[in-house]
């Protein structure tokens, strides 16, 4: 708006100069001169008037036009089947969290003359994330919240490099995105698998449940989570006494009489294991983990992908003012708040926090603030959250929940760290393989 007005003003001023030039060259004819003079005077007066009005408008506009901060929300339409009917992901999962943060940012923005806008873009099968990023960039988006699998996130981030777009990874937990495949333009609000596994392991070690029976699904992501759990066992002094794979042979998640069969299968599957304290299960694909609790051959607790689950957020969390967050969310969206919603909320609030402190929409200014020591994000986690400067991962406590209550929060007391107890979770500075570019 201001730019446009200034353009018009410039054109008028130029027109004025042109007329003056004409007047100079027409001196020979008195008649002409007089005519030109009259015309010219009228023009000068008119343009002066217009100039005054326009300048006035421009000044007024400067005082009233809010600073617009456009945030893209890029997601892949994917339907995750779950064993538990109550855990089926709602269609607006993640997006709802971002929308709530936009609302929160705008409440603050109202007092600071800032306006936050969310541009939702949903990729369908076959859509190229790189093309979507370019499309968002053409709409003036320079901040993108991404709910994408690792490979697509990397493709999107690399496509956004030319336009200096800053990405927020709210969904992909892959450790490689914080390690070898890290990028200098991706901030991760989603915890990594290593952070989740470490959070769980610390509690199990505190509980002295150190002999683990590890059961792993047959899909790649199950194995990645198992790798993180294995690393955590080594780090914190637990022992994997036995490991077993549960093969996904296909089939529906639920059938009318399936429960009877599961009751027969699971005890048999968990038979003949050396003495163990706890069954640790890695099944991100939701094929079998939730069928394990109460059905193991030996009476043992189940943790990991079922039973006691490590997560960034749960609808049952009422710690540290969390109840306010839960009730605001439920009121607005008529459903419970998931971890993906929280991770998206956190990303958009990070933008809001940076933009309100820096009074800027420039992604570079915001980025510098976010990765710096000034960031002290309040996100209902009982302490300020900051970003690790070696891999751009948001430091955060890990909640351990059985889906009904918060059982514990890691880092556990007694797990010490030289700089921040939160850095006992995930890949610490000395272990990093990330070189940010």
């Amino acid at each position: 708006m201001i730019g446009l007005l200034e353009g018009v003003v410039h054109r008028l001023v130029n027109m004025d100069l042109e007329l003056n030039k004409d007047w100079q060259s027409d001196r020979e004819s008195e008649q002409n001169q007089r005519r030109t003079l009259v015309v010219n005077t009228v023009f000068i007066r008119l343009s002066a008037l217009a100039l005054t009005i326009l300048l006035g408008l421009a000044t007024a506009a400067q005082a009233q036009d809010p600073l617009d901060i456009k945030i893209g929300y890029l997601r892949r339409a994917q339907q995750q089947e779950t064993i538990s009917l109550v855990q089926m992901p709602p269609p607006d999962i993640g997006l709802a969290g971002a929308q709530m943060a936009i609302k929160d940012n705008n409440t603050t923005g109202r007092f600071l003359n800032q306006r936050y806008l969310l541009v939702d873009m949903r990729l369908k099968t076959g859509d190229d994330p790189a093309a979507a990023v370019r499309q968002l960039a053409s709409q003036g988006v320079s901040l993108i919240v991404a709910d994408l699998p690792a490979d697509e996130l990397l493709r999107a981030a690399d496509a956004g490099k030319a336009d200096r777009i800053l990405f927020f990874n709210v969904a992909a937990t892959d450790d490689r995105l914080r390690q070898k495949d890290c990028r200098g333009n991706i901030v991760h609000t989603a915890p990594s698998r290593a952070m989740l596994a470490d959070g769980l392991a610390q509690y199990l070690v505190w509980k002295k449940w150190v002999r683990w029976f590890l059961v792993v699904g047959s899909h790649e992501r199950d194995q990645l989570f198992a790798a993180a759990l294995t690393r955590a066992a080594t780090r914190f002094g637990a022992k994997i006494v036995h490991q077993r794979e549960f093969k996904d042979t296909g089939g529906a998640r639920r059938t009318d009489s399936g429960v009877a069969q599961i009751q027969q299968q699971m005890p048999v599957f968990t038979q003949e294991v050396p003495n163990y304290d706890v069954l640790v299960v890695a099944d991100e694909s939701e094929v079998f983990a939730n069928n394990l609790p109460y059905r193991t051959w030996d009476p043992r607790p189940v943790v990991g992908s079922a039973g006691l689950v490590p997560t960034s957020w749960d609808a049952s969390n009422d710690l540290w003012g969390g109840i306010q967050m839960q009730s605001r969310f439920t009121e607005q969206f008529k459903r419970l708040m998931t971890s993906l919603d929280m991770q998206a909320w956190t990303a958009v609030r990070m933008v809001g926090e940076a933009a309100s402190r820096q009074n800027s929409a420039d992604p570079k200014v915001l980025f510098d603030f976010l990765k710096g020591p000034q960031l002290a994000l309040g996100a209902f986690k009982g302490q300020k959250l900051t970003v690790r400067d070696w891999d751009l991962q948001l430091r955060q406590p890990i909640l351990l929940t059985d889906g009904r209550t918060i059982v514990s929060v890691s880092p556990q007391a007694g797990f010490l760290h030289q700089f921040s107890a939160l850095d006992t979770l995930g890949y610490d500075r000395p272990e990093t393989q990330c070189s940010l570019q």
């Binding site: 302490q383 300020k384 107890a421």
Partner: protein, 324 residues
């Protein structure tokens, strides 16, 4: 103790000559216990427990000490408790989820922060009806009022601002950005400064109430404690404006601040998860509520020593002390 404030010393001597303190009574809200513990400050013990609504937090005596007001957030009301009988005599139309509130200096108007719907509700105390509301930032909590009652300050926890509200116009006149999760606002008695504590930011902002600008930020550092554990919430400032006290939450300490230079003088170890505090009217004692250890710590202001722990109900949160 070599840096003890000379004013405090003089004060200590004055009190020492004055004989025993008068019988002040403290009312402590117990967030989990759904009760108010009544503490006899002479005896330094809990003498009575009053049952109130769900999740009592903000608590204040009326100006005449006849009633104790307590915000019971999960029951969406501020309850009026008769201090003589211990009965709940009225429920005020506070709006949803009240947490902290403040009375006008004349006690006629009550301003309540409603955490869930971003408003401050204004209540006529005589008629016990709502007069209106003011829209503020996300999750309003802290409430402070200027000594002349003309300016109300509300802090919003997610918006990270102190909102200055003209009490006559009931309109916001200024917004001041402070550090993360501002939870408590307090004017000095001479109105020269407004203090706002930021729980997550870990600081106290000193604000010029006329210019609406942060003039200084107090930071805290305790050897052996991580900065994340230092979470300022409740505050008190002595009437002479010379000494400030800041509760540091999970740091289990109260910071003693020279309120003129804003330098931290000392950290006093109190109970666990210290939330709020109140000075006795003679400023002899400062009482703090310690959420996780279910007790109240008594600090002797003159010596700056913690002299006693008083057992109260479950998860003590707010505290208010009688004027007589």
């Amino acid at each position: 103790m070599s840096k003890r404030h000379p004013g405090l010393l003089a004060f200590a001597i004055a009190i020492g000559l004055g004989g025993p303190a008068s019988a002040f009574t403290a009312y402590v809200s117990n967030e989990k216990g759904n009760t108010i513990s009544v503490v006899d400050i002479d005896k330094m013990e809990t003498v009575r427990t009053i049952k109130v609504g769900q999740r009592p937090r903000g608590i204040e005596l009326t100006k005449d000490d006849n009633h104790c007001l307590v915000a019971v957030g999960d029951d969406d009301t501020v309850q009026v408790v008769d201090t003589k009988t211990g009965e709940v005599v009225a429920n005020l139309p506070s709006g949803p989820d009240p947490e902290l509130f403040i009375q006008s200096p004349d006690g006629r108007v009550l301003y309540v922060a409603n955490e869930n719907n971003n408003t401050v509700t204004i209540i006529d105390m005589e008629r016990r009806v709502a007069l209106g509301e003011v829209q503020v930032g996300v999750e309003p909590e802290g409430m402070g009022i200027s000594p002349d009652g003309k300016v109300l300050v509300n802090t919003s926890e997610t918006t990270n601002m102190a909102h200055f509200i003209d009490t006559r116009e009931r309109k916001i006149i200024a917004n001041v950005l402070v550090d993360s999760r501002p939870r408590y606002a307090l004017f000095k008695t001479d109105a020269s400064e407004l203090w706002v504590s930021s729980e997550i930011g870990g600081t106290v902002s000193i604000i010029d109430p006329v210019k609406h600008q942060v003039t200084k930020k107090i930071s805290f550092a305790i050897p052996g404690l991580r900065s994340e554990a230092i979470q300022p919430v409740g505050m008190s400032i002595t009437k002479d404006g010379k000494t400030g006290f800041v509760a540091l939450g999970p740091a289990n300490r109260v910071a003693v601040v020279d309120a003129t230079t804003h330098e931290v003088k000392k950290y006093l170890l109190v109970g666990q998860r210290v939330w709020h505090m109140a000075l006795t009217p003679d400023e002899k004692y400062l009482l703090t509520t310690n959420g996780l250890s279910n007790d109240v710590s008594v600090i002797e202001v003159a010596s700056l020593k913690v002299i006693k722990s008083i057992q109260v109900g479950e998860l003590p949160w707010g505290i208010t002390i009688t004027k007589r």
